[in-house]
Amino acid sequence: MKLTSLLKKLFYFYIDGFKAMTLGKNLWILIIIKLFILFVVIKWIFFPNYLATHFTNDTQRSIYILEQLTKEI
């Protein structure tokens, strides 16, 4: 019962805080747009993890990196 009441208080603390925001509302909109651009557009389209996409496991990745490190000789 006490825990439910505490969680309720916490929930309304955040809800009231967000409702009372003035400048913060615009900042949140900006943050959401920015995070969408960063994680959905930029990360997904332009920044695939090179080793994760080219190899299936860590053993293959190790072999590849060792090849890179020793290919000059």
Binding site: G24, L35, F46, Y50, D58, S62, Q68, E72, I73
Partner: protein, 513 residues
């Protein structure tokens, strides 16, 4: 695809662009959180409602800077995975722990204490609110600690062991990595530079109000807090800068030589207080290094080695060796580096063939020469020299501006304490126009740290050329411009929103951020 100079240059340019833009937002947050905490402490102690208003105004600007800067650093992690995959793999085990702690710390801090700081003004007790504000300040700075420990490790790799089977550096001693002198001095110097920038920020905006004859009491009080904080932290910045230079002298002597344009090493070496480099100077030729210079005698020996008579090696000594001072040449290091790379290759082959005796022998050769492994990838000894002009001018810009900031804090504090600040128009204009210089000094500092340690991604172990992925340079070029547009947009947004809030002022500021 093969590594080309073009690909490496674009990958470096992109990383530099994102890092430099990211650093436009971070230092202000690091410093302004403390200034806001100090102001709120005065409010709680005095009960003076003016201080509450003052605190809330600066907290609003902190919120804008925080919101715009949020997650701009994550792009560098994207770049590690795509453009710098060799590097990311090789350092993965070292960076994993600090970056994970940083991420968790940032998340919990931001979702709890930030919320109390912005939402809890009339909902929690004054003391609870003040505690949250201080925890935000401490937590933001601790987030920076982990990143700077990771950076310090790249400048001076310690506490690890290279595993030749996995091609990864594995952490052997967390505390050695954590207390790496390079990382510690970098953290202290970097965060204190953030405190100085935040002080300049508060002084500049307050000076603008005084020049406009607006919010006089608010501006005067803000200047007193910012000048005091700026003065104390400037002195600390000076001390931590001295320690940073000492660390550089021990671990990265080439960087120190480039910072001072010192080609031929000397005892009782002086610091160039002001100088113009001769752009025609090439390593090994007879041209003068400077068109002119003013030097402070013995100061570089003292700065680098804490002795007025110490020998400071120059670029020539470090590249071609100096027997008298037991400095081995880059050629010798290259030979050792090539031995390490060759031994690693043999180790791999013997392991594959199941010849464990020969594999162990190869491993012994590798370990004996591993400290110079990175030199094995250089084409010629001169490749070990960073861009001298860039490093020299960035260093001197940073130091020169830092000295000016110290003087400015002394003047603004003196005239504020004597209640004459509003009449000193020249000082108010100086305070206003010093703000962009604060940002220039910040960026110059990072240029010294990063361009000055070239060609290394990890000092002595991995040059940037070997750290890069085999991706198409055109794709890096496209994303470079994409980021340039995105970050410029964010910067314009920050400036516009901030200017709007500043024009509204503390009296008209919203009750809730």
């Amino acid at each position: 695809m093969e590594h080309t100079d073009l690909l490496i240059d674009w990958s470096r340019a992109q990383f530099a662009l994102t890092a430099l833009y990211h650093w436009l937002f971070v230092p202000l947050t690091l410093g302004l959180t403390f200034i806001v905490a100090i102001m709120e402490t005065i409010y709680v102690r005095t009960g003076d409602i003016w201080w509450k208003k003052t605190t809330k105004f600066w907290m609003g600007l902190l919120a804008i800077n925080f919101a715009i800067g949020l997650a701009t650093g994550i792009i560098m992690e994207f770049e590690f995975g795509t453009n710098w995959s060799n590097y990311a793999w090789i350092v993965g085990d070292i960076f994993g722990a600090p970056l994970a702690i940083e991420g968790l710390m940032a998340f919990f801090m931001e979702s709890t204490f930030f919320a109390v700081m912005f939402f809890g003004w009339d909902k929690v007790s004054k003391k609870m609110h003040l505690t949250s504000t201080w925890l935000v300040a401490i937590g933001s700075n601790l987030s920076a600690l982990w990143i700077l420990i990771a950076n310090g490790w790249m400048q001076h790799p310690v506490g690890m062991h290279f595993n030749p089977d996995t091609a990864r550096n594995e952490m052997e001693n967390f505390w050695e990595v954590f207390f790496n002198p390079n990382g510690v001095s970098k953290f202290l110097h970097t965060v204190s530079s953030g405190y100085v920038l935040a002080s300049l920020f508060v002084i500049a905006i307050s000076a603008w109000y005084l020049l406009k004859n607006r919010n006089i009491l608010f501006a005067k009080r803000s200047i007193i807090v910012a000048s005091s904080f700026g003065l104390i932290t400037s002195l600390f910045l000076l001390t931590s800068g001295d320690e940073s230079a000492f660390q550089v002298a021990q671990e990265q002597p080439m960087k120190l030589a480039a910072m001072e344009g010192l080609y031929i090493g000397e005892e009782r070496a002086g610091i160039v207080a002001m100088g113009l480099l001769n752009t025609e100077k090439v390593l090994g030729d007879e041209n003068d290094v400077f068109h002119f210079k003013f030097e402070i005698p013995n100061a570089l020996s003292f700065l680098g080695y804490h002795s007025l008579d110490a020998f400071v090696p120059g670029i020539h000594d470090l590249v071609y060796g100096n027997k008298e001072h037991h400095i081995i040449s880059v050629s010798q290091k290259m030979q050792k580096g090539k031995k390490a790379v060759e031994a690693l290759k043999h180790y791999k082959t013997y392991k594959k063939e199941g010849n464990s005796k020969k594999a162990i022998e190869a491993l012994k050769v590798f370990e004996a020469n591993q400290a110079y492994m990175g030199y094995g990838y250089l084409n010629k000894p001169e490749d070990a020299v960073p861009n001298v002009a860039l490093t020299f001018y960035s260093f001197h810009t940073m130091v020169g501006l830092g000295t000016w900031f110290l003087l400015l804090f002394i003047l603004t504090l003196y005239f504020s304490m004597n209640n004459q600040i509003a009449q000193k128009k020249w000082l108010l204009y100086a305070g206003l126009f010093t703000l962009p210089m604060g940002y220039i000094a910040q960026e110059a500092g990072w240029i010294v740290a990063e361009a000055g340690r070239q060609p290394w991604a990890i000092q002595d172990l991995l040059p940037v050329g070997m750290a890069a992925s085999n991706v198409a340079s055109t794709s890096v070029m496209i994303t470079f411009w994409l980021f340039a547009v995105l970050f410029t947009g964010l910067l314009i947004a920050e400036i516009k929103i901030m200017l709007k809030q500043i024009k509204i002022g503390p009296e008209g500021a919203h009750e809730h951020v």
